[in-house]
Symmetry: none
DNA sequence: TTATTAATTGCAAAAAACAGCATTTAAAAA
DNA sequence: TTTTTAAATGCTGTTTTTTGCAATTAATAA
């Protein structure tokens, strides 16, 4: 049997069933497991499937990564996410909210880091699935079409059952005196629950959002433990936050 | 024997069987293996076949466009999804499982259709968010990296709280006598819960999966109400399912 | 934790590819 | 026709690729 035939068969099996065991393939093709392993490794190198411990999975939808090309102020958000990474220790339990900054955080978590991560954001969850050492738990509920996160009573109830080490949240608007505000009532309720579910709440926000407000309030500024912007903590734009009981990063 | 003639024979063999061994050709044509090798090398240079270690394969066999939409058997799955759409009535409540066929179903739901849709699949949920008239509820839980669906006790508990009109499920393997089987224990538990949460269970499966099985059983074949493949219901491949208490579409 | 199962590494045998060379064959020129 | 020339073929020894096996290490499950 030619190597090409064998690899074609392997690909076929993988695509058909989404996942196969190396031992099954070896038996089916009547070759040693070493050969199958080498084939799978090669196919993985060619990006035609993904090798996993003990088998292989189809790329199928596995390589879905939300289009990141038109994210506003990506550079600042990346800088914020980088700072946030410093807070995440191995074996900790965290909760990541929705929004592009939070997606960026999820994307940048190093593959070696082993943590448990709750989220209610679909795009964040997609990113986390790419991390081999992260256990991801999705908080279910009614999905909001524009923010792509779970909202509603069920979501809030689920959040009430957990208490994580760090909760990373975004916000629509933030102001030193008005606190965190949003455009949408449901989102506010959900974010309140996220904050309640976190021992430490970390706000991720680009500086452009500072000193802005909207109609519904999530919380007061000093209910946030840490605020991360892309700016240096002593930047003058952050002056109005320095008096508050809040850590700046 | 002329070189031309020999090369034509080689090409014929390759077209006929998709692949060929150099040693076989050499024996069949009664020439040295070096000659065959040189011929094949030449034909490869002319792009009339692909030379591989130990033999040659036809271009169709080896060719794959890296940019192609890499869902396996997309055409069949689209056909299946189309048939399934016929079952979905306005204002009904449905539950969509994971897998590429289910994603295809979600993708094809017309934008005017207004339904309530539960799902435990991340990619399905992403698709549903694009539909303005669908209320989407994500069943939360621990996310399986391979299958990108919620699994585990929490998922099963959440599923136990609902009863939908139609549950559309996929399966790894299906056999008329062994029923639906899977590679993964957790997935099986989850699918059992999905079936229990559905008044009508509809199995979506391409015909290639028929008569295959794996180690863990989800359910017996007659626990499924309707099975949809890309084939006509009276196709002979479906004969073994006709005796069962199951509707074929 | 321990037990089990995979992955990795190094190695050796077998098969295939390659390069160089000698011989044969086929076509062109005399 | 014969001679010349270039191409084609087969052979030899060497190098590379492929494959399976065994020992060690890593990862996962109980």
């Amino acid at each position: 049997m030619l190597k090409e035939e064998r690899q074609r068969t392997i690909l076929n099996e993988v695509e058909l069933h989404n996942r196969v065991l190396l031992t099954d393939i070896a038996e089916k093709l009547d070759v040693s497991i070493d050969t199958v392993r080498r084939d799978v490794k090669e196919l993985d190198g060619e990006n035609r499937l993904r090798k996993v411990h003990g088998g292989a999975v189809s790329l199928g939808f596995a390589n879905y990564s939300p289009a990141r090309n038109n994210v506003y102020a990506l550079e600042q958000k990346t800088a914020i996410a980088q700072k946030a990474l410093g807070l995440i220790k191995d074996n900790s339990v965290i909760l990541i909210d929705g929004g592009t900054t939070c997606v960026e955080l999820a994307r940048l978590i190093p593959p070696q880091q082993s943590i448990t991560c709750f989220t209610l954001s679909l795009p964040v969850a997609m990113e986390l699935l790419n991390k081999p050492n992260i256990e991801t738990i999705f908080i279910g509920g009614v999905l909001s079409k524009d923010s792509q996160i779970s909202i509603g009573a069920n979501t809030i109830h689920n959040l009430s059952q957990i208490k994580v080490d760090y909760g990373f949240i975004g916000t629509g608007y933030v102001d030193a005196s008005y606190g965190l505000t949003e455009f949408d009532w449901d989102i506010v309720q959900t974010k309140k629950a996220v904050i309640k579910a976190s021992k430490n709440t970390v706000l991720l926000s680009i500086s452009e959002k500072l000193n802005s407000q909207h109609r519904y309030r999530t919380c007061d500024i000093n209910e946030i433990d840490t605020m991360i912007t892309e700016l240096e903590p002593n930047h003058q734009l952050l002056n109005s936050f320095k008096d508050q009981n809040i850590k700046l990063l």
